[in-house]
């Protein structure tokens, strides 16, 4: 049995609510959590990982409240924080062996498991280098490796691709997608393409509230017929930018091509185009974003 249930979760910092009335039920598979910065994604991840206590509501792992049975959850938890530190004295291999020991793995199993996770993240060649010599991408891969050490049933990864170059991001997505079998994976990101590539379920958070809890396909379907493309002059482009949500804006030789998210036709020359998940996300959060 693998089930994560969240009921009416609220979290308040001082006078500010970071999460409001969040309820959720997860079974094996990947749930992508998306939302703008400050939406409450990291707060939610930390509460599930037992690092923060809810102000109200409850989180259950396999039917047990994690406030009273946190240890049972931590035994099957793999967690990659958004921003984690390292021990500069250690090599990558020593760091993983250290965390394997902290996770309670017996020595012989720990050594074998460290070798396995190093292979999974393709770090065998550099595993005996000191951690401070690692690049950002290598450090992230060591981060995911440590999260996999105990073969977790619940894997939480918070903004894992932030700071990675495009090639490393793609590699990381592929890795995450290979890990979704037989476990619950919670992936938090503000990069929509990451979720689009790997998540079977999508939750959009904004200002601590759930805007949508759906599948990428359903969200795309809901957005169909609401994404437009138009090429126009600069003055009209500026008018459209002020009036509509613009997904992308590309300067071309013969004018400016806008990708507009709108339930109605924004311009007589606009034509309907296939929506992307980013368009669907923009429609859901109702926020203007421009990518030039």
């Amino acid at each position: 049995m693998m089930e994560l249930t969240i009921e009416h979760l609220n979290k308040r910092y001082g006078q500010n609510w970071a999460l409001r009335e969040l309820s959720l039920r997860c079974e094996p598979g990947m749930l992508g959590l998306v939302g703008p910065n400050g939406a409450g994604k990291t707060t939610l991840m930390r509460m599930i990982a037992t690092l923060l206590s809810p102000t109200e509501g409850a989180i259950h792992w396999n039917g047990q409240d994690i406030r009273t049975h946190g240890q049972a959850l931590r035994q099957v938890l793999g967690y990659l924080p958004q921003d984690f530190g390292i021990y500069p004295e250690f090599t990558g291999r020593q760091f993983l062996r250290y965390l394997a020991a902290m996770k309670g793995l017996p020595k012989s199993l720990a050594h074998r498991r460290v070798d396995e996770v190093l292979e999974i993240v393709q770090m065998e060649q550099v595993a005996d280098r000191k951690l401070p010599t690692y690049s950002g991408g290598m450090k992230q891969r060591i981060g995911i490796a440590q999260a996999l050490l105990n073969d977790p049933e619940l894997l939480i990864v918070d903004e894992p691709t932030a700071g990675l170059d495009p090639a490393e991001r793609v590699r990381f997505r592929t890795l995450l997608s290979s890990l979704t079998r037989n476990r619950i994976v919670l992936l938090s990101t503000h990069i929509i393409s990451d979720v689009e590539a790997v998540a079977s379920r999508l939750m959009i958070l904004q200002e601590g509230r759930v805007l949508a809890d759906t599948t990428p396909e359903a969200l795309l379907e809901k957005t169909a017929g609401k994404v437009w493309s138009v090429t126009t002059d600069q003055a009209t482009a500026l008018q459209l930018q002020a009036a509509y949500q613009i997904s992308t804006m590309v300067n071309q030789v013969h004018g400016i091509t806008l990708r507009i998210v709108s339930p109605t036709r924004p311009h007589e020359a606009a034509v309907v185009i296939d929506p992307s998940l980013e368009d669907a996300y923009l429609l859901a959060v109702g926020k203007q974003t421009v990518r030039v």
């Binding site: 990982a49 984690f84 250690f90 309670g104």
Partner: protein, 313 residues
Amino acid sequence: MNSTALTSTGKLTRAIQRPHPLTRVMTWELRRFCASRLFWLQALGFFCFSLFLTWALHASEGLATVSNNVQISGFVAGTSAGGLLRTLPTVLVVLVLLLPFVTADGVSRDLSRRTHELLMTTALPTWAYVWGRYLAGLVMSLGLALLLLASILGMGGLLHLTVADYPLPQISAVLLLWVGMVVSATVLVSSFGFALGTLLPRRTTLVKIVILLGWIMGAVILPRGLGKTTPPAWYVNWDPTSAITALGMLPQYSFDLRAVTSAAQLQQLILTIENKMPDLAGWFAPHLLLAGFSLVLVLVAALAFKRSRDVLN
């Protein structure tokens, strides 16, 4: 990246979980320190400085008198029982200046380094984490205290071989004073620093400053401020810095030099001073009790420690 499968399941891992989490935390914390070149350099630096201090203070008290218009002089060996009462509190200050830096960050270092979240999401029991970190810090602190002992015995032996009439340190006397003064102070400062650093993880610099200033006040400024005044007996017994304790015992080592008429007689007198074992009654047990009390502070810190925090780095 490929998709190598993990060979065993999480259930297997949980079924054969490694026991003794306290030993695990301690061992790895010590291993982490030992992996740092800086740590070894600091330990070596401390040992060399202790050797130097022992050498510099080897004539702990100069004795001189005039008999038949001839000046007779000698000194009490700094590594003898009587000499250590004068030198040990000074050398101890140097050790204590280091101890808060070894232990106060035992837990708070994870917060500042942002490794806290990685550790707190493992199944490691909270008590094992806190006590393991404390014990690792204590072992390192006691290691420094051992280096101090080694420097006293080592330099004492070297001086015995190279300086005329310099006595070989009496191991039993040195050990007793080392346990009563150095070990008790090491446990006290290490525990106090760790407990406060754990309770106030974002104020560890302040914790270190307060401990250092407090010790300098008690070991250096207060004894000088006393002048010729006799300190109260309870303070002599309970002074954690041992500076006042030593001051309180020194009258047992004072002799009337006017009766000395020859160099041989002075040397005999010096030998008596050097070999006279300090009176342990009164202060030895209170010093160990202070060290034991500091363990209660660690217990409080361990009980107050929370895995989950409302504000994380």
